[in-house]
Amino acid sequence: MTAPLHEPTAEAAPSAAEEAAVAGADAKAVQGRSLGRIAWERLKRDKLALTGGVVVLLLIVVAIFAPLITNIVGQDPDVYHEDLIDPLFGTPRGSLGGISGDHWFGVEPVNGRDIFARIVHGARISLLVGFLSAVVAVIIGTVLGVLAGFFGGWVDALISRVMDGLLAFPQLLFIIALVSVMPNEMLGLSGTGVRLFVMILVIGFFGWPYIGRVVRGQTLSMREREYVEAARSLGAGRFYILFKELLPNLVAPIIVYTTMMIPTNILTEAALSFLGVGVKPPTSSWGQMLSSAIDYYQSDPMYMVIPGLAIFITVLAFNLFGDGVRDALDPKGSR
């Protein structure tokens, strides 16, 4: 715990704001500090979370500028380098999977495509699916969570049942099932485009209950708070209360759960590509690289280590950053 707690039952946003007021009165600083400011100051002290955040930022830059980066390095993810392959074994010449000044991470067995370029391009797929499916989950989860918490009654009962049901069942299996019954062409998209679209939708769909549950709980407890009561007695309508009083206070928990959801989504995307229901070749993705590395784990172990490390570092960075954001925004959760 970084600051004194005066209201152990309150959660996230409201208590952080109140706590700031108290802390501000104690300290010399008299002027009010916003929640974002307090959170940022806490986050700055958390070295691990900052490291995670920096890595995440770097990965985003790499993903956005992937074609530019591979151009500067002078490698193309789809160009074959068969001259670098030992024709007898099909594995790269040289040690450590053909790592050299030209090919920083080595080359693939058999066709000799540059692994560095494929990893850089693979980051695009991982982050794109990770982020966008989180967006889908946040939209559905916030709308349904607020509806359940705000209106209560049968609306709440129905939405809560659906959330419990979705959370109870093995998601990967259901995602595989849904992805495999989807068409190969739809909405004018084909190939990798369709797969990406379907993956984002399906992963997002199975992720919304995590957000929905939290939002519902927060809405439920905030609905009865004094400031909502005050707004109501001043004659504010339902929608005014919903958008002006409740939603701003839901931002903090939503941010926390979104950052924690992205790494899970990235792992799911990698798993789907590993199993062959993700993006289609020649588009490169980390899960797919690992799946083809299975056949070479004895003769060319570097081929499996590099995409594995890429997934590990990415997911770990997001997890560290997510834990830090949670601790910074939610003093009660600083475990």
């Binding site: 093995p170 595989i176 099932a177 019954v181 989807m182 590990f312 997911v315 475990r335």
Partner: protein, 332 residues
């Protein structure tokens, strides 16, 4: 107690019906909305038009959707006879579907593979419960110490590593480089030691992931409970610290974990797809991968259905256990 059990049982039956309808929806309604020809996806894309047409008739895809749903539902309890295209295919109860592509009923294939999956899940569960709970409880009690930090770093790494990567790494190191373990799968009835040796790496790999998750959750739950008033009361009335931890804190920490264990085990009954794929274990999960690669949709359907039922049963068992452990539940 009896009223509680009857209520839970009733809820489970309702849930069973809902699950079957949802699975029907995923495989028959969603493709229809998305504009996919269901018959084609059931026989594979290379099939000739005549056999696609035969399957269309056999599945009754021309019938109203309610009739189709009812046939699908009935088949699970009473079996089903598919007729069309001049021949008749029998599928005995419980009919979890029929693969027209490989010309076999789904259920017998699944039951044949089930023991491998069961052994993988149970063995791993023993390991992850021992290590996950121990690490979590110790971390909560020694909060902030080097042990706590070390354990939590390992746990965070554990939940960030894809299981097929740890699996491949362990294969490369322990089986290939060091040669300690022969990682080939050997059926149990051939040789016990061979079977056991082949299962060690899968067990450890799967257990590592879950132990990491359980350690994180156990630690968080335990720390929350240690802050509760009744723990203070227990200490205030002079109980030994050991008794406070064992009788008061541990008991409340374990009840939510029981729910988690029930759900996780239930879900794993459908096969740890990634683990089984990495280690080539012939369980249900590997069948899912085969089915993806061969476009043999009925097997995916079958595994989804069997897993859902396993989750349902596991939840029911947990509910009953809750009533035994926790008197508050019984009386509610």
């Amino acid at each position: 107690m009896l009223a509680y059990l009857i209520r839970r049982l009733f809820a489970a039956v309702v849930m069973l019906v809902v699950i079957i309808l949802v699975v029907f929806g995923i495989f028959f309604l969603v493709p229809k909305w998305a504009g996919v020809d269901i018959a084609t996806s059931f026989v594979g894309k290379q099939a000739d038009p005549a056999s696609v047409e035969a399957v269309r008739q056999k599945l009754g895809l021309g019938d109203p959707i309610f009739v189709q749903a009812w046939e699908f539902f009935k088949a699970i309890f009473a079996g089903r006879t598919y007729s069309g295209g001049g021949d008749v295919t029998e599928c005995a109860a419980p009919c979890f579907g029929y693969s027209f592509r490989s010309e076999q009923a789904v259920w017998p294939v699944l039951t044949e593979r089930f023991p491998v999956t069961l052994a993988l899940a149970l063995g791993a569960a023993v390991l992850w419960l021992i290590f996950g709970l121990a690490a979590g409880v110790l971390s909560a009690l020694k909060r902030g110490t080097l042990w706590d930090r070390g354990a939590m770093v390992v746990a965070l790494a554990g939940v960030s590593l894809p299981i097929y990567f740890t699996g491949l790494l362990s294969l490369a190191v322990f089986s290939h480089s060091l040669g300690w373990i022969n990682a080939e799968f050997v059926p149990l009835d051939e040789s016990f030691s061979g079977w056991f040796g082949g299962m060690i790496l899968p067990w450890i790999t799967l257990a590592f992931l879950y132990a990491a998750m359980y350690a994180r959750i156990t630690r968080a739950t335990m720390m929350e409970i240690l802050g509760e008033d009744y723990i203070r009361t227990a200490r205030a009335k002079g109980l030994k610290e050991q008794v406070v931890i064992r009788k008061h804190a541990m008991r409340s920490t374990l009840t939510p974990l029981l729910t988690m264990l029930g759900m996780d085990l239930g879900a794993l009954m459908g096969g740890a797809i990634l683990t089984e794929t990495t280690f080539s274990l012939p369980g249900l999960g590997q069948k899912v991968l085969d089915a993806i690669q061969n476009q043999d949709l009925p097997f995916i359907l079958g595994v989804v259905l069997i897993t859902s039922l396993a989750v349902l049963i596991a939840n029911l068992v947990v509910d009953v256990l809750y009533a035994v452990i926790d008197p508050r539940v019984r009386l509610a």
